[in-house]
Symmetry: C2
Subunit: 695 residues, 2 copies
């Protein structure tokens, strides 16, 4: 069977927009890419061999995307995708964010702590197995049975292999399950990063906007057996001046879209999820900004966290704006009305769909009630962005150790899914990685988290009483952070390997604390999974099936952090609040620079000003359908040559989470031409230019 027939047989797939995907809409899987339609829309002639080459040249690097650009494992991604690596390798004295990381020889390229990179080698369908596992079950039992089956499939496929990862991907909100197999690299070295300011010119203010002037590019190198990896294929570097209207493809791993949510579900996001996430993030931002102003040292350690937080926050603002835009919401409501009309007017379809809208409507009051506790205590995985414990690394390590020990005492199928056998090696490599922690920063994070949790859930909430006892957020955070020894990777390794016995015998206060709050926090998670997640999943599957029946084959699944291909053209924008041509140049950068941060040109870049042709295109925009996670995605032309890397999109584009809008959706790209100039004329990285095959 072809994959399309499979979908039809299962009647579980769906279209995204109510009226089916339009030209240039869709983050398509590589096993279901609409080759003919793309070629027709763009006037290109790509084929299956082209798709395979592009897929095998595409890399997932942490939460980012990247592309292989040489036969010796060299990979280009965004600078912001290596920012945490750069921060981990830096000290206040030797700060690569300030100087750039420019190793003179390949031997000076340094391993990124905890860094992993993956190439998608195989996709196979496991829908029937997963669906069979959940048959006849409801609530948490339904989810747990499926999770267990997924864990078994992953373990069977990958076993103990350390150079592979197997992942069952849920597509079409449960309409399809596919086993993705990756070639995995755990030795990833930093090969080049520019001065941070060269990549972040304009800072948070220019983030999610255009015109833009940022060399947001960096290089890593994949290693295998302590030698540069030899991969199956790679992109050809094309640094020619880009041309408006050129058809392009963007290959990467967009993180998450919620295009299949019903209007009622979106209202919950608008009314409850985003306000909570954004309001408390804004306070954390204020605390961190003031913290960073207190000393040079604090400025150094808070820089990476602030950039990350501001990025998430501004994205959230764009989403709030989408959900409170009467025009956008009206279009979406019309789509839903049309869809419901089609279902209701077809008796058989109406019967099998069993009113999924009504079911989802019924769940919303519960979701609204439970979301704050779920977000604050368990991170609201997959729906919001609230970082548990404010992202305190020490807290999160302790949680992994405590839960990991508790879960590993059970058979894999009965565990929390993130501790299934197939996931353990990933958990371990994150846990054992050498990373600096900064107690002062950890204190800011935990204080904020405890105080916001107490505020939103109220003092009299039993979980809050369990969390705080009679201590204040400030006292409790200080006691745990000052007393813990988990900053030492050897301590973490010993506790992990010692299992439950070691964890229970530990007198580390952070470990003891995490042990003490498991009842409350697990109950919150279980409540959400039983009363919200499981019934939502079941209704979403019926909705997906109905949508496919109603709209036929112009279907693609929501983004899931897995490899996708999208297409479009090099194009500017001409709508209110967003009017510009497709290109910026170095001349524009010099013009925009005021000298005051964040509009100060990075010193080495400024010093090279006279070497650089001011008309070199720096950044450009595309009409392609991208979203967070697409950062670093290679932009390739119809010949499969790399023209740049996606690194951003505009604030208006953030509606993309809920629906593609061709008028406003624009991806922001750093060009290969600008990167070539940076390597050759600014950072003296001629050896990489040579490796890229530039004349």
């Amino acid at each position: 069977m072809t994959s399309m027939k499979l979908i039809l047989a299962a009647t579980t797939a769906l279209t995204l927009a109510a009226t089916g995907a339009r030209a240039e809409e869709g983050m398509w899987t590589f096993d279901n890419f609409p080759i003919a339609r793309a070629n027709e829309t763009l006037g290109t002639s790509i084929d299956q061999a082209w798709l395979d080459r592009v897929r095998l040249s595409s890399v997932k690097f942490g939460g980012c995307s990247a592309g292989i650009v040489s036969g010796e494992g060299l990979v280009m991604t965004n600078n912001h995708c290596v920012a945490t690596c750069v921060a981990n390798l830096s000290t206040q004295a030797v700060n690569y964010a300030e100087t750039g990381f420019t190793p003179r020889t390949r031997e000076e390229e340094v391993k990124c702590p905890g860094g992993t990179a993956e190439i998608l080698t195989d996709i196979s369908d496991v829908t029937e197995r997963v669906r069979a596992a959940g048959e006849g079950l409801t609530g948490q039992a339904y989810n747990r049975a499926r999770d267990a089956e997924i864990g078994r499939i992953e373990t069977e496929a990958c076993g103990d292999a350390t150079d592979k990862r197997c992942q069952v991907v849920t597509l079409y909100r449960g309409g399809q399950f596919k086993l993705y197999t990756y070639k995995k690299y755990t030795d990833v070295r930093l090969a080049f990063a520019p001065e941070d300011r060269a990549a972040t010119f304009g800072g948070d203010l220019d983030n999610f906007s255009f015109p833009r002037f940022a060399i947001d590019a960096a290089f890593i190198r994949l290693y295998e057996n302590d030698a540069p990896a030899v991969t199956a294929t790679h992109f050809v570097w094309n640094a020619d001046k880009p041309v408006e209207g050129t058809p392009v493809f963007v290959t990467g791993s967009p993180g998450a879209t919620q295009r299949l949510l019903t209007q009622d579900q979106l209202f919950t996001v608008r009314d409850v999820v985003l306000p909570l996430d954004q309001l408390i993030a804004s306070e954390l931002r204020g605390r961190l900004i003031r913290f960073s102003e207190e000393s040079e040292e604090n400025a150094f350690i808070a820089m990476d966290p602030i950039v990350g937080l501001e990025n998430t926050y501004k994205r959230g603002l764009g989403r709030m704006r989408a959900l409170t835009d009467p025009g956008f919401m009206a279009t979406r409501a019309e789509g839903e009305t049309d869809f419901r009309r089609r279902v209701v007017s077809n008796p058989e379809l109406a019967r099998s769909a069993a009113d999924p809208w009504g079911a989802l409507t019924t769940i919303q009051p519960i979701a609204r009630e439970l979301y704050p506790a779920y977000a604050l205590l368990e991170g609201g995985t997959g729906i919001g962005t609230t970082p548990v414990a404010g992202g305190s690394q020490l807290f999160l390590w302790a949680r992994t150790l405590v839960r990991g020990a508790q879960e590993r005492a059970k058979p894999s199928a009965e565990r929390l899914p993130e501790f299934g056998d197939a996931r353990l090696s990933g958990v371990q490599s994150a846990l054992f990685a050498e990373r600096p922690t900064y107690p002062a920063l950890e204190q800011v994070r935990m204080e904020w988290w405890l105080s916001k949790t107490r505020e939103w859930l109220t003092v009299d909430n039993p979980a809050v009483r369990g969390l705080l006892g009679r201590e204040s957020p400030e006292e409790l955070s200080a006691r745990l952070i000052q007393g813990t020894t988990l900053a030492d990777p050897a301590v973490r390794r010993a506790l992990w390997e010692g299992g439950m016995a070691a964890v229970e015998a530990s007198d580390d206060p952070m470990i003891k604390y995490l042990l003490s709050i498991q009842d409350e926090t697990r109950a919150v998670r279980s409540d959400w999974e039983t009363r919200v997640q499981a019934p939502t999943d079941q209704a979403a599957e019926r909705l997906a099936a109905a949508r496919f029946a109603a709209y036929g084959d112009t279907v693609y699944p929501d983004a899931t952090g897995t490899l996708r291909l999208t297409y479009g053209k090099i194009e500017g924008s001409d709508v209110p609040g967003q009017r510009w041509g497709p290109f910026t140049t170095f001349a524009g950068l010099w013009d925009r620079a005021t000298g005051s941060a964040p509009f100060d040109v990075a010193p080495k870049l400024l010093a090279a000003r006279d070497e650089i042709d001011p008309d070199t295109v720096l950044n450009m925009t595309l009409s392609s359908d991208t979203i967070g996670g697409s950062s670093g995605s290679p932009v390739v032309n119809a010949r499969g040559e790399m023209l740049g890397a996606n690194f951003d999109s505009t604030v208006l584009t953030q509606r993309n989470a809920y629906g593609y809008d061709r008028n406003v959706n624009r991806s922001v790209i750093v060009t290969t031409g600008a990167v070539t100039v940076a390597l050759r004329d600014v950072y003296d990285m001629g050896r990489l230019v040579e490796e890229l095959g530039v004349d």
Copy 2:
């Protein structure tokens, strides 16, 4: 004519709720209080003489309410209403917020800097004069002409009198204009304040909630000619144990409600106004919290600003919750539907109303577009809560000096209304008051404001370019704050008295800065007034007239910060998330105390524990219709005796801004019994107890 006939004649008044006010709903003016209905609802028998006595015993104190409780000018209000006075009188070494302010003799009572108190002595109708002034005009001309006429009325009535204030109050959104005349006291002395923690036990966490355990009470004394004021009348102090179900009246000056907004207007508040205000306030809160953690000194100077900000922020959260509560919004939508149906079904009414909903709908996209600039640059007066310059006192003084000089060069009728002749004495007394300023705190405020303004309006906005030039928010703030001498009241007085010549000759950087940004900021204000405010006012007047025609005489105006009377009963609450009896006691306070801030009992209060009958009622709740500004409002029984002072309401009650909901609306009261205990048994203020006439 009776006032009701006047309203009918003008056909401009309106009901609040679509179906007319229900029992216990309404913040009524004293010249239109529904005596018969209140007596019927409560089983009381108050009369006009009772109303007059209550009115003349009621005091407006800054943004708060208060009540006269002795023949020697003693006035009770909330402690949080004197918090800024206490902060202004304190130093880090002698910090009355920590110790309480407990003068042993009347001579030790100290003047509150800039404090004024007012008693409403007369109300007269000036509707026809104001309406005539605007006839035939539109846009800003319409508003300016009316503002000018209002200024003339105020000046004619009060002249240069320093012991009176005349204010034309706009009622029913322009349906009525009344001239309010006040007896004004500019010598207001602090007579007693408890330890701050006694008034704020539970801090921000218990704020806007119940059960509650806060002695949020303080006393001021009105002075005239350097002697305690002799007022016409005063409340009798009744410290008896309160009884559930007792009919009560609350007299005070509720700040602002928006109950007459259409659904479309509310969506603008929900989608644009509250998110902006709350998100940026949350960041300021984070900055201030971290700032206050940096040193004892910072903790001292940030305490009052943080409390004020957290109060505004939590109120905003309650409002967001109301506007995103599907049930509440559905009820409101039904009301609007019913109202529109009544209007449309009456051809004459439909003609005269001229579709005010449609007009207001048309204005909303403009309001949504202009609000951010208006809020950030001009404080969005009356709609949001964004403090211009983050509330930097130095900036605001400079603005008053610069604009005051510019405006006073024109005839009164052509000025910005806040600089009309009738307002100048108020402007001056605020400007000349001796108040400490703290450069470090000013820096936090201005930095935040400049950076948020740049972020929300974007770097490329011309007003932002004007505001910042090539400086960063940090550099600019530091230069202005370090260079200005406006902290000295003599400097401010000289600049004010020197007028435009002095301002233009000044080389104070803050003055020069304010001069330099007048074009941009005034343009933003003018734009809002012309395109949003004026057409909104005109539509609101037609809406008000139509509503009155549709629903008859159960009408009261939106709160406007002027004296109102509301009524209800001593009553607990029994709805989800809000279930409790009407009383708390000292026993409950001892139980709730953990010893960790903010749940630590104030030291002097704790020391007196054995002296206090644990069953003494501390706080209680009422069903009366109150809102911010009602703080300090005397709670009186049918005999006109004072039983306590309003100091709060619950988070759910915050929907009160948009509609009264008898099920959830509860005002929180500190009892006269608890205040008597505090004075007598805790703070050794027997002389005040004696003055109150307690045996």
